[in-house]
């Protein structure tokens, strides 16, 4: 069906002129519609779960995944549709994950481990599923390198943004990224 031209609202993306269905569900959910929120959950949980898993390494991630959605429910009124809902949710998820790590007392100094990073990634026995091997290798990176790698290479944030999120210098973000990539080289299939 051809969407008719309508006046701009906060729910429309100007470029396409089409209403983002997530944004409609977000409005519904902000008014208390749990079913609309469940639709949003179903549409985005895989991405959120993967982000949580990759950012947090081996830790138990179910609680954090739920925390993200509970926080999103609480903050729905602040979603104004200027970005896509998925983008907004993703940022919120990163904040929840990083905030969680602070309350767990993980110190940011682990970003400065230097060469020790390369030694902490144990070689894994080869598994039939190469992709899982790579992803498992990412999860085994030390915290700082892993977070930067996930945020930059997997999720596409820029170093300036990552530095702000993690509270480190841009240069640190770049060097951590490089260290993570170098450590992962051995897990590429040959």
């Amino acid at each position: 069906m051809t969407p008719p031209g309508t006046g701009a609202t906060t729910l429309q993306h100007e470029a396409s002129g089409r209403t983002d269905p997530d944004a409609v569900d977000a409005t519904l959910a902000a008014s208390g519609d749990a079913h609309a929120f469940e639709r949003l959950y179903r549409g985005h949980v895989n991405r959120v779960a993967s982000l949580v898993r990759r950012m947090m390494g081996d830790e138990d991630t179910d609680d954090v995944i739920q925390d993200v959605f509970v926080r999103a429910w609480q903050k729905l009124a602040t979603f104004r549709g200027e970005s896509a809902f998925g983008t907004w949710l993703h940022r919120l998820a990163v904040n929840v994950i990083l905030g969680r790590r602070e309350t767990l007392g993980i110190r940011r100094q682990r970003h400065l481990d230097g060469d020790a990073v390369l030694e902490l990634v144990p070689g894994r026995r080869t598994t039939p599923e190469i992709s899982m091997d790579f992803e498992a290798a990412v999860e085994r990176l030390p915290d700082g390198a892993r977070q930067v790698f996930v945020l930059h290479d997997v999720e596409g944030y820029r170093h300036e943004e990552i530095a702000g999120m993690l509270g480190v210098a841009t240069g640190t973000s770049k060097s951590q990224l490089h260290r993570a990539r170098m450590a992962l080289r051995q897990h590429l299939e040959r």
């Binding site: 729910l11 008014s31 179910d62 602040t78």
Partner: protein
Amino acid sequence: MSDQWTDRLSEYLDGELPPDRRAELEAHLRHCVACGAVLADLKRIVTRAQGLEDRAPERDLWPGVAARIGAAAPGSRRARPSGAPRRRWSFSLPQLAAAGIALMALSGGAAWLLRPLGRVPLASQPSPAATRWEARQLPGQGDGGVLAVAARPRGERSYDAAVADLERVLEAGRGRLDTATVRVIVRNLATIDSAIAQAQRAVAADSANLYLNSHLAETMRRKLELLRQAATLVSSVS
């Protein structure tokens, strides 16, 4: 492996080297096979990273989320909006509190009239803790069960904001619905608005009347529900 050349390979790959450094590195890469191999590896890693697929959690976490947000019964796993039989409670307490209304299940048979004190935050969804309540026991009220409390004009603004948001969605999308459906929705919204107006007048004349207050709250909820249903229709035909 770590030297002045390989250390810069990531920045080079990401296009973040200043022009003079980039030229230097490119000159080096032209005759350094080892660095070329490392660069190729880094490219593959980035490609692999960008191609990582999202994976669902091991188990369905929605029931836990639903329980924490006070939503409908867990086990409602449909992708489409479907009404779980307890839909009357799909408003969590914070949402009702935002409308200046709370439904409190009573124990012990005492009846309380609760009114919000102070400002109810308008932009965010207040948690029950953020809304302080004054409790005043009504004389002669002895039935247990669920009672509604006085709706305060200040608290109604969050409800009004939700209604306004949904009306905007509808207005923007009504061209997508056919005219008969639009007529039905408009007519039924008018029916509910008329009922709300009558209930409001009645409450204004008898503000301590628990039935009138709960009836007003319920009718306001019906309006919101109809708007939500209409907005869902709009989104489903877009």
